[in-house]
């Protein structure tokens, strides 16, 4: 390794030659940089903080990661992460068994839960159909979803995949499977955000909002 310019993210360590021997510390910095949105600079600060100022916190983090890794897995019904065989949403008696909302990611599920108005169950795909990337219906667990649609309890499926082409393809794919089982299919509405002003919307969004207008 030659001399590095100050912009280099490893500058802090590569500057001092002796630090290059500190494999354990630099591995921790590398590992912390695995998080989305975390670069080397930030991961260095995190490592220093944990080891200098909050060693107890570091132990707790380490223990929770261990425990989560060994106990948290995908729900056997909706594929959301859970520490039970079937997650708490799927188990809840207050939830309607007749509606399933299909989302691309767990974050989408949490976002809808935050909204608080949906009282059915979910199904998490963890992605969308993408032939060029080799992501197939099986990879998204769609066969598991179809199994559940066949059990007679589900009456409506609400598809909340993203409005990208791949998200749309995924929606059509699931919709056809569901219709062939005589299940009502709906798609969440897309258009003007609440509090939004029309002049700042792009043409595609406005077109869609007009095409999918509702009686008033």
């Amino acid at each position: 390794m030659g001399l590095k310019c100050p912009q280099d993210s490893n500058f802090l360590f590569s500057l001092v030659f002796e630090y290059m021997q500190e494999h354990i510390l630099s591995k921790l910095v590398d590992d912390l940089a695995r998080f989305p949105g975390i670069g080397k600079k930030t991961s260095q600060r995190m490592a220093i903080h944990l080891l200098n100022k909050d060693r107890k916190g570091a132990e707790e983090i380490s223990a929770s990661i261990q425990e989560a890794l060994s106990k948290v897995r995908k729900c056997g019904r909706c594929r959301a992460l859970t520490e039970f065989d079937i997650c708490s949403i799927c188990q809840s008696e207050k939830r309607s068994k007749s509606k399933i909302c299909v989302v691309e990611n767990l974050q989408d599920l949490y976002a809808i839960e935050q909204g608080g108005s949906f009282r059915g169950r979910y199904f998490v795909l963890y992605g969308h159909l993408s032939p060029i990337d080799g992501i197939s219906a099986d990879d998204l667990g769609i066969d598991l979803l179809i199994d559940q649609l066949s059990n007679g309890e589900v009456q409506e499926i609400i598809i909340a995949t993203n409005l990208t082409v791949e998200g749309q393809a995924t929606a059509y794919f699931i919709a056809e499977k569901a219709r062939s089982l005589d299940i009502t299919v709906s798609r969440i509405a897309h258009g003007v955000p609440v509090g939004g002003e029309l002049e700042y919307l792009d043409g595609n969004t406005l077109n869609l909002a007009i095409e999918t207008r509702q009686g008033f």
């Binding site: 989305p36 197939s136 082409v165 794919f173």
Partner: protein, 246 residues
């Protein structure tokens, strides 16, 4: 220096935190790979001009390396959207181009054919014939255009009643009964395919079989995921078991 061209997005893939890797099929420069920086940030103004498939754009990019930087992408016409079955056909065509066209190898003809096909898919349900024509055009561009009026070895003209097999990389050869289990084509059908008479359902079906084997030969063992996806999709929409236009 900025380069401008009309083009379509063939594929996007998330790249780092806020960017996309975009495969563009451009009119003037063929396939180009760009980084679209910041396009995944939801607050970004650019997000409004999000990168969709099957929509014609005016692209601007720059860069000296193979991986360019996307500077701008403006939709240049009314937004067509493909729906249902035709969306899956569109994904098939994109996967074909993604796998078969080399990077930076422009072809105005293929671009025009793609533009026409996408427009057609956006407006008409009877797309089979147009799809077959585009596949033939693509094979020709790749240097493996199907020669359907003469035998490759003897140069004899094809006879209406006679049976032939197609040896990829060579051409038509008279079918000999001892050859085991091969795809066989009747002379009259081959000549009709040559004339692109795809309104005839039987001819279109034979053409599909022949072109599919020619495309498989080009793909050299690689399977098209979009073809399987399309067939899975159709399987749930139609009871007819004889399915698959791709």
């Amino acid at each position: 220096m900025n380069i401008e061209s009309k083009g379509f997005v063939l594929h996007t893939r998330p790249y780092k935190e806020t960017s996309f890797l975009v495969d563009i099929f451009s009119e003037n420069h063929g396939r180009v790979r760009c980084v679209a920086k910041g396009y995944r940030r939801s607050t970004s103004r650019q997000r409004a001009e999000s990168l969709s498939l099957f929509v014609p754009y005016n692209f601007t990019w720059r860069g000296k390396n193979d991986l360019k930087t996307l500077v701008n992408a403006e939709t240049c016409e009314m937004n067509l959207s493909l729906s249902g079955e035709r969306l899956f056909v569109g994904l098939y065509v994109n996967e074909l181009l993604y796998n078969l066209l080399a990077i930076y190898d422009p072809s105005k003809e293929i671009y025009a054919g793609y533009f026409e096909l996408v427009n057609f898919l956006g407006t008409s349900a009877r797309y089979n014939g147009k799809l077959r024509c585009f596949e033939l055009l693509l094979l020709e561009y790749l240097g493996y255009g199907l020669v359907l009026d003469i035998e490759y070895e003897s140069g004899n003209t094809i006879e209406l009643e006679k049976k032939y097999e197609y040896l990829h990389g060579y051409g038509l050869s008279p079918f000999e009964s001892q050859s085991e289990n091969r795809d066989v084509y009747v002379g009259a059908d081959l000549l009709a395919i040559q004339d692109q008479r795809f309104d005839d359902i039987h001819i279109e079906k034979v053409a599909r079989r022949l072109i599919r084997s020619a495309i498989d030969y080009q793909l050299d063992g690689k399977l098209l995921n979009s073809r399987k996806l399309y067939q899975q999709y159709l399987a749930s929409t139609k009871s007819d078991s004889n399915i698959g236009q791709c």
